[in-house]
């Protein structure tokens, strides 16, 4: 009898990663006045959000919650990584950008700028502006066809200017350099001139944890990275958080 009950319990579906993440996060908030007690809850929430991010539908709000959980679990590099990963999908999202800026505040190292057109204008913005301009343009065309020349000229002019503006912005976005694969430095580490410890350091000081870098190449357990100020060097793979990398997961 007991075995049957245990078997039945085992077959029942457990809480989804999102539900358990929410529960842990709220438990952490309850204990926020005691960091030692709260952080394990935030850590559990962050791991559950990671699972939800990898397995379930992704959204900007999920990314923000994931980053917040990592931040409150005292793992700022992972919070930065979560936000950067989301900004690859929704580069124009102002909330993601603002939270990334908050996480970056204590990283004393050059960080990539978020001032490109793709960080300001979303495809939806272009679509809405284009729709309005196209409607005005279409009405103008119709008026022109049925003989209202003066009003048609005004409508066509306004619509065409709107569409021209949208086109210029779209071309600017297309011309922006493509996004590199990125990584976030997990802990203070020495950047070297080659992919072994026998090579001398590239910089006089260590790269601080939380620094965002572009990944140029990988070889023999080392990653060649490029900092925001253009300096290139090698760091051990275990010292950076890479997309899809599980070896450096805490």
């Amino acid at each position: 009898m007991n075995c049957a009950i245990l078997t039945l319990l085992a077959t029942l579906p457990g809480p989804s990663p999102l539900e358990s993440a929410r529960t842990e996060f709220e438990a952490g908030i309850e204990l926020r006045s005691n960091a030692d007690a709260a952080r394990p809850h935030f850590l559990a929430a962050a791991r559950a959000y990671d699972d939800a991010w990898e397995t379930g539908p992704q959204s900007a709000s999920l990314a923000r919650n994931r980053a917040r959980a990592w931040y409150l679990a005292n793992d700022r590099p992972r919070a930065i990584f979560a936000l950067r990963e989301a900004l690859e999908l929704w580069s124009w999202d102002a909330d993601l950008q603002r939270e990334l800026q908050l996480c970056r505040d204590e990283v004393r190292f050059p960080t990539p700028m978020l001032n490109q057109w793709r960080n300001r204008v979303s495809p939806w913005d272009l679509f809405v502006i284009s729709s309005v301009a196209s409607t005005v343009f279409g009405v103008g065309l119709f008026l022109r066809m049925i003989g209202f020349r003066r009003r048609a000229t005004i409508c066509i002019g306004i619509g065409a200017m709107g569409l021209l503006g949208v086109g210029i912005i779209a071309v600017q976005i297309q011309k922006e350099p493509p996004l590199h694969p990125f990584a976030v430095v997990a802990s203070d580490t020495v950047m070297r001139t080659g992919n072994a410890t026998l090579y001398p350091p590239r910089l006089p000081s260590e790269i601080p944890a939380g620094t965002e870098v572009n990944v140029i190449a990988e070889r023999g357990g080392w990653v060649q990275i490029e900092c925001a100020d253009g300096v290139r060097g090698w760091v051990p793979m275990s010292e950076v958080i890479l997309k899809g990398g599980s070896s450096n997961r805490p």
């Binding site: 709220e26 959204s59 709000s61 929704w90 908050l102 495809p123 679509f127 284009s130 301009a133």
Partner: protein, 322 residues
Amino acid sequence: MSAIGSKLAFALVAVASATSSVYAQPTVKDIPPIERNAEDFYHAIAGNRPIAGRWEAEPSRVPLGSDIALSLIVEHSENPTELLRPDLRQFPAFTERFQILESDVPPESNGSAVRFTFLLRPRTIGEIEIPSLKYRYYRPAFPLGKRMQTTYARPIAVSVTPPPPKPAVPIVAPESFFSLAPETSTPRTVPQNLWLIPPVLAVLAAIVAHVVFRRFYPDAARRMAWLRNRAAREALRALHTKSLDETQVFAVVHSYWVNRWQLPPEARTQREIAVSLPPGIAESAARFTEQCDAARFGEASDNSMSLANVAMDLIERWEAAA
């Protein structure tokens, strides 16, 4: 007398020099190398009394995580300045129980006693024994072969209590991070060229609308009639909905004549209107102009409301007759 005195003085000097040569302070250099390099020998040389070593721990009761100042006191050494400091890191009995920290306290010498201080951090909670230390020393007064003697610093116990609970420290983070972001459904990806669809659709819609329009108004004459009817509709709407004075009523009707019946805009007098409008409506239009003039210049009692009603009635009749 002086000879006896000088002999005595000589004898005293001789005794003194002999005594100083017998009691000259021994040094490590005097010890043969094979004994000098013996294990657990820290260069202590004993005189008449044997060397004694002992531990002292301060404090003897500490919470976990705190440090203990452990002193090794070596007594009765003839060469206190030459004594070596034992390296406790070499003894597993110490390193298993304590973390040996760097200590910058120099040896303290007090006569023949020397104190070496070590800084230890216990690894576990409970009664922990500081192990005994084997301490070999050299005793030159003994016969050859028995000069290396051994003593021990006897073990003592220290008590390590659980660490006191840490004061609760709140998490420091931006306040907005202490709440969950509301769940929103964000599309996974958005095509970058989505904006190209509306212009194409707009052009197509304009063409379709034009085709439909031409279907309902297949020729230009009917198109113009539609436009003219629109002028009548606008005039009726203006007369019906707005409270207009006499001048405005006339302006609305005049605008209707201009748009609907191609009256030259400059034709404003009764005579000009009668001449310019088609014969079917010229007479009634001239009469209406006369009424308006009378109302405007006080020659009749028609107010603006009745004028507006007259105007609406006339427009409907003209449209019906057209």
